[in-house]
């Protein structure tokens, strides 16, 4: 199923809006969508909802033989699945091609190569048996910025995961003990890797604006993107800026500074979520899992609107002004709206094909709202529509409805 084409109107609309400092969902340029992290019944199963992007991560473990070259190190493998459920243009089994490769590469660099998980701690007996942790990330709904969401889900799942305790006999046989007999062992992560991605929109040739946490539409319209993988201790674990637009050095450094600030917030959020869940899990005997924690899209939109209505005046939220949008000077907030003095309603809903011209203060003198015939009752006329070159149609305004007997064939 091909992706619905992006019309030039959507493209120009978004670029113009970004040029004068606005985004579709009225977020600031450097403001992220609100995220909720929730955990399932098992240890190590975590779901992250970033705006409408939904990702599910599940950690599983098994005892395996270590690699010959690294006898005392455990193994960690990360796999990303972009299921067709995430977006219409993904075919089952297709795997989304280059998008998944890039995502896989960023996650591997961020979590595996950055040594944030101490692999030695996964060793049971050197050269014989070690733990292999496998993180399976499934993208449930793709609304942009998969890197941040899947990275957050993977890290939260790893920190939340507890592997069962283990009994090792002399001759090397390993017995895995169930959770009931002895408490499971938490996994220790030295640093929390975080991924922050920026979309670069270039309205004119050299002017380049940076948007954080792009939605799917913004991702389709942006010219370049910058994905920074880092951890709150000041290490940059991976940085991908695959071109398509030329940036100055200062612009990149400003992005990195903002990314580090953002990394602290995300790290704390993940930390907090894991601790809260572990506490609640300790008290109640049967963990409730995802049952009442998942938020439906409608619910999310409703909360966003109530939140919008709460914040009265439109000033770009403080957090973004202080971050001083790296690119150009602060785009001027849209000048004060003079309340439309003339309140004559210029939109007249008229019956089907009667049209009222509007006051011509709008530049094109086209008629305004053409409101199609209301009810969708298809009053099938028995007249065959002649399909000649010059398409002649019976005028079928609603008023002179003939009473025709409905035949079942019409109703199909």
């Amino acid at each position: 199923m091909k992706e619905t084409p992006l019309s030039t109107c959507e493209r120009t609309a978004l670029t113009d809006m970004v040029e004068c400092g606005l985004r579709h969902d009225r977020r600031g340029f450097l403001e992220a969508r609100d995220t909720t992290i929730s955990f399932g019944r098992e240890y190590g199963s975590c779901s992250v909802i970033l705006g409408e992007t939904r990702v599910l991560a599940q950690v599983t473990c098994e005892v395996v033989e270590p690699r010959a070259s690294r006898p005392s190190e455990g193994k960690l493998s990360i796999a990303v699945h972009l299921s067709p459920m995430a977006a219409p243009h993904l075919e089952p089994g297709g795997g989304g091609g280059s998008e998944v490769d890039a995502l896989q590469q960023v996650l591997e660099r961020n979590i595996k190569e950055s040594r944030c998980l101490d692999l030695e701690s996964l060793c049971i007996r050197a050269e014989e048996s070690v733990w292999q942790l496998r993180v399976d990330i499934t993208v449930l709904n793709h609304d942009g910025n998969l890197c941040d969401a899947s990275n957050m889900a993977a890290v939260a799942a790893l920190r939340h995961f507890h592997r069962p305790d283990v009994l090792v006999e002399e001759d090397g046989r390993v017995t895995v003990l169930s959770h009931a007999t002895s408490p499971p062992v938490p996994t220790f992560m030295r640093k929390v890797p975080v991924c922050v991605s920026y979309a670069l929109v270039c309205p004119q040739e050299d002017k380049c604006l940076v948007l954080m946490d792009p939605t799917h539409v913004e991702e389709r319209v942006m010219t370049g993107k910058l994905v920074a993988g880092l951890n709150p201790h000041g290490d940059i674990t991976s940085l991908v800026f695959p071109g398509r637009v030329a940036l100055k050095k200062e612009q990149i450094m400003k992005c990195l500074e903002h990314a580090f600030r953002r990394a602290k917030i995300i790290a704390e959020m993940v930390q907090q979520a894991v601790e809260d869940d572990l506490q609640t899990r300790a008290t109640e005997d049967r963990p409730s899992g995802f049952r009442d924690k998942l938020v439906s899209d409608e619910e999310y939109k409703r909360q966003r609107f109530t939140h919008l209505m709460a914040t009265k005046v439109l000033t770009l939220p403080t957090e973004s002004t202080e971050a001083a949008v790296p690119m150009e000077e602060e785009p001027s907030a849209p000048e004060e709206q003079d309340p439309a003095n003339e309140t004559t309603t210029n939109v007249t809903a008229t019956s089907t094909n009667g049209l009222v011209d509007t006051p011509d203060d709008l530049e094109e003198s086209r008629t305004t709202a053409v409101i199609a015939s209301v009810t969708k009752t298809c009053k099938n006329k028995k007249k065959k529509v002649k399909k000649t070159k010059d398409v002649k149609m019976e005028s079928d305004s609603e008023e002179e409805q003939q009473q025709t007997l409905l035949t079942s064939q019409d109703l199909q």
Partner: protein, 242 residues
């Protein structure tokens, strides 16, 4: 036949929820004289009318019954006004994406004062507002931008600028209802032009970008709230945007 026979008491007029397979009422043309008309979502088979979609069963004063269901994927219907995006130019046809399973076609002649010589200049990605004149299971849907007197009547290529977004079909139908005050409430705050396609695509254009975002979000309110609640809240949302 559906086992749960439930004749809805249509008296007090508040819509009841029906599920596919529910029996609506008996109708036997020989026995009764009055005419009733069935809209989408209903099926008349061997003298009983059953629902085929889940949604609210509505009855209009002119005895038209139909099921108002919540749906996002548009199924082309004759005489629907839809908003399409031009995919590609095929000889003297344009292929247009109207969000249905198949792309619609429109001949270059079916525009206002189009002729063999003067072809309207349309390129890929433009927006077209037209009326479906051919739409059935067996053929590709066909679009025209002129009415029976060859006048554009607001149809044709939309001007540049403006913002396009999609809403579920029931919201689009709600917006178009003549007696629906929603669009008037919005117009109290903002002067805007709006084009609503029955395939769930809405195009809004105002003088300033800020207002466009405001109107868009106001309309998106309808997606999550009931009509009455949305009417109450729309003004506050507009304030928070402008």
């Amino acid at each position: 036949m559906g086992s749960n026979f439930r004749a809805p008491d249509m008296s007090e007029g508040d819509p009841t929820v029906v599920l596919p397979g529910d029996l609506i009422l008996e109708y036997d043309p020989e026995k009764t004289q009055d005419r009733i008309f069935l809209g989408p979502g209903l099926r008349w088979q061997d003298k009983t009318i059953t629902a085929t979609k889940c949604g609210l069963l509505r009855k209009t004063p002119k005895k038209i019954y139909f099921v108002d269901s919540q749906q996002k994927r548009y199924v082309p219907e004759k005489r629907d006004f839809v908003l399409g995006i031009i995919l590609k130019k095929r000889g003297d046809f344009y292929m247009i994406d109207i969000g249905a399973s198949m792309a619609a076609t429109i001949s270059y002649l079916s525009f206002e004062n189009a002729s063999k010589k003067t072809r309207t200049e349309l390129d890929v990605g433009d927006l077209i507002y037209g009326k479906l004149i051919v739409a059935n299971k067996h053929m590709d849907p066909e679009l025209v931008c002129i009415d029976s007197y060859d006048r554009a009547v607001g149809m044709g290529r939309l001007p540049d600028g403006g913002i396009l977004f999609t809403v579920p079909l029931h919201v689009a139908r709600l917006l178009i209802k003549p007696d629906n005050p929603f669009l008037h409430n919005i117009s109290k705050k903002v002067t805007y032009t709006i084009v609503v396609g029955l395939n769930g695509r809405v195009w809004v254009k105002t003088a300033r970008e800020g207002e466009m975002v405001a109107v868009m979000n106001a309309i998106l309110l309808l997606e999550v709230m009931s009509e009455e609640e949305a009417n109450k809240k729309v003004l506050k949302v507009l304030e928070s945007f402008i």
